[in-house]
C-alpha cells in the first residue's frame, strides 16, 4: 500500500490530511477529478466508508465539490486552497513546535533555528548546483 497510516489517529482524519497534501503537491491538482471512493479505498487499503466520510468532510470545507453524475472535483477557489495550505502547514508546524518545545526551546529560539536551517540548506543547494 502506498499510503502510510499511523495506528492511533482516526483513519478518516488521516485520509483528509493525505488528500489535502495531495492537492498541494499536485497529485490532485485544482479543478481535477478525484478518483472514486472505491478507487481511493483500494489504493489506500482502507474501508470505502471511511473514505466516504473523509470526502464528505472535505466537501463541507469546500476543498472538494461533487457533481451529481460525474464525481468529485478539487476546487479552484484560491481562498479555499490558501486555507488548505494554511491547515496543512499548521499541522506540520504544530508537530515541530511540540517537539522542539519539548526539547526546551522557546518560541524565539525556534524561529531562529528555522531561519538558520533555511540559510544552511540554501547554501548546500547552491553548492550542489556548482558541483553539477
Amino acid at each position: 500500500m502506498a499510503w502510510q497510516f499511523d495506528s492511533v489517529t482516526p483513519i478518516y482524519l488521516q485520509i483528509i490530511m493525505a488528500i489535502r497534501s495531495g492537492v498541494l503537491k499536485g497529485t490532485y491538482p485544482p479543478g481535477s477529478k478525484l478518483p472514486t471512493v472505491r478507487e481511493l479505498a483500494l489504493q489506500a487499503g482502507v474501508n470505502p466508508n471511511t473514505v466516504q466520510r473523509a470526502l464528505t468532510e472535505m466537501e463541507r470545507d469546500g476543498l472538494l465539490h461533487a457533481e451529481r453524475t460525474t464525481g468529485r472535483y478539487v476546487t479552484t477557489d484560491q481562498a479555499v486552497l490558501e486555507n488548505t495550505r494554511h491547515k496543512v502547514s499548521a499541522a506540520a508546524i504544530a508537530a515541530m513546535c511540540d517537539k522542539l518545545r519539548g526539547l526546551g526551546l522557546d518560541d524565539g529560539q525556534i524561529i531562529g533555528q528555522v531561519e538558520q536551517w533555511m540559510k544552511e540548506n540554501q547554501e548546500n543547494e547552491e553548492k550542489e548546483i556548482d558541483i553539477e
Binding site: 500500500m1 492511533v8 482516526p10 483513519i11 466508508n49
Partner: protein, 231 residues
C-alpha cells in the same frame, strides 16, 4: 431489519460453552472485524451463520431468515482451511460455483485467476498451498453475496500475500453487503474495518466503529485489544 442478527445465541459443546447468550446486530454495507483470542467463539459464530453448526439455543438470522438453503445462497463463506476438492481442475471448480450459486461472477473469477497466472486446466492437487488459498479467496469474493464470512483470511500468509488478500476483499465485495472478517491479526486488518466486534468467552464485550474507538481511546484497535485481553 439488520442483515445479521443474533439473539441470546448459545452454543455448547458438551461442557464447553462456545457462545454464551450472545446478542449482535450488524448492518449491510460495512466491513466488520470479529476480533478475539482463540476459543472466544469466532469460528463457532461463523459456522452457525453458514449453517455448518446448529445453535444450542437462541437464534441467528441472516437477512431475516434462519440459516438454511435460502441463506446459503446469499452467504459467501471462506473457512480457515483448504476445502477445494483435489480431483477437480480450476476450470471445473469455476463451473461448479456457477452451477450452484446464481450470484457467482464467473468472468471476474476467471480474470482474477488469469492475472495470477493460475492455469485453468490444472488439478487443484498440483497447486501450492498459497495458490490454493488464493483460489479459494477468488471464488468466494467473486460471489455477489449479501454476507461474506471470512474466517482468518490472512493467517499463515506472507505480507505480500496479505496485501493481495485485503485488496481482493476491498475491491470485490458487493455493494451494500456485509463483510465479516474474523481474525487475530488486527493491525493488518484495522484500516479496512468499519466496525470492530470484540468477542470474549462467547459474548460481545465491545461493538464500536473503528474511528470512534480511536477517537475515544486515543489508541489503535490493536492496542486497545491488547489491553482489553491482557492475560
Amino acid at each position: 431489519m439488520s442483515i445479521f442478527e443474533c439473539h441470546a445465541l448459545t452454543k455448547n459443546y458438551g461442557s464447553v460453552t462456545a457462545l454464551d447468550n450472545m446478542d449482535l446486530e450488524l448492518e449491510g454495507g460495512r466491513i466488520v472485524g470479529l476480533l478475539g483470542p482463540n476459543g472466544s467463539g469466532k469460528t463457532t459464530l461463523i459456522k452457525i451463520a453458514s449453517r455448518l453448526l446448529q445453535p444450542t439455543s437462541g437464534e441467528l438470522l441472516i437477512d431475516g431468515m434462519k440459516p438454511g438453503v435460502a441463506t446459503k445462497a446469499e452467504v459467501a463463506y471462506l473457512p480457515d482451511r483448504q476445502f477445494l476438492p483435489e480431483w477437480m481442475t480450476t476450470k471445473q471448480l469455476l463451473q461448479m460455483y456457477k452451477d450452484f450459486f446464481t450470484d457467482f461472477d464467473m468472468d471476474k473469477a476467471a480474470e482474477m485467476m488469469a492475472s495470477l497466472q493460475i492455469p485453468d486446466r490444472q488439478n487443484i492437487k498440483k497447486l501450492s498451498k498459497g495458490t490454493r488459498d488464493k483460489v479459494q479467496l477468488i471464488l468466494t469474493m467473486s460471489r455477489r453475496a449479501k454476507v461474506y464470512l471470512l474466517d482468518e483470511p490472512i493467517a499463515g500468509v506472507d505480507p505480500a500475500a496479505r496485501d493481495y488478500i485485503l485488496k481482493t476483499i476491498l475491491g470485490n465485495y458487493a455493494e451494500g453487503s456485509l463483510v465479516l472478517i474474523s481474525t487475530h491479526l488486527i493491525t493488518d486488518v484495522e484500516p479496512v474495518l468499519d466496525e470492530a466486534v470484540f468477542l470474549r468467552q462467547g459474548h460481545v464485550i465491545l461493538h464500536e466503529s473503528v474511528d470512534a474507538l480511536r477517537q475515544r481511546t486515543g489508541k489503535s484497535v490493536n492496542d486497545y485489544f491488547k489491553e482489553a485481553f491482557a492475560c
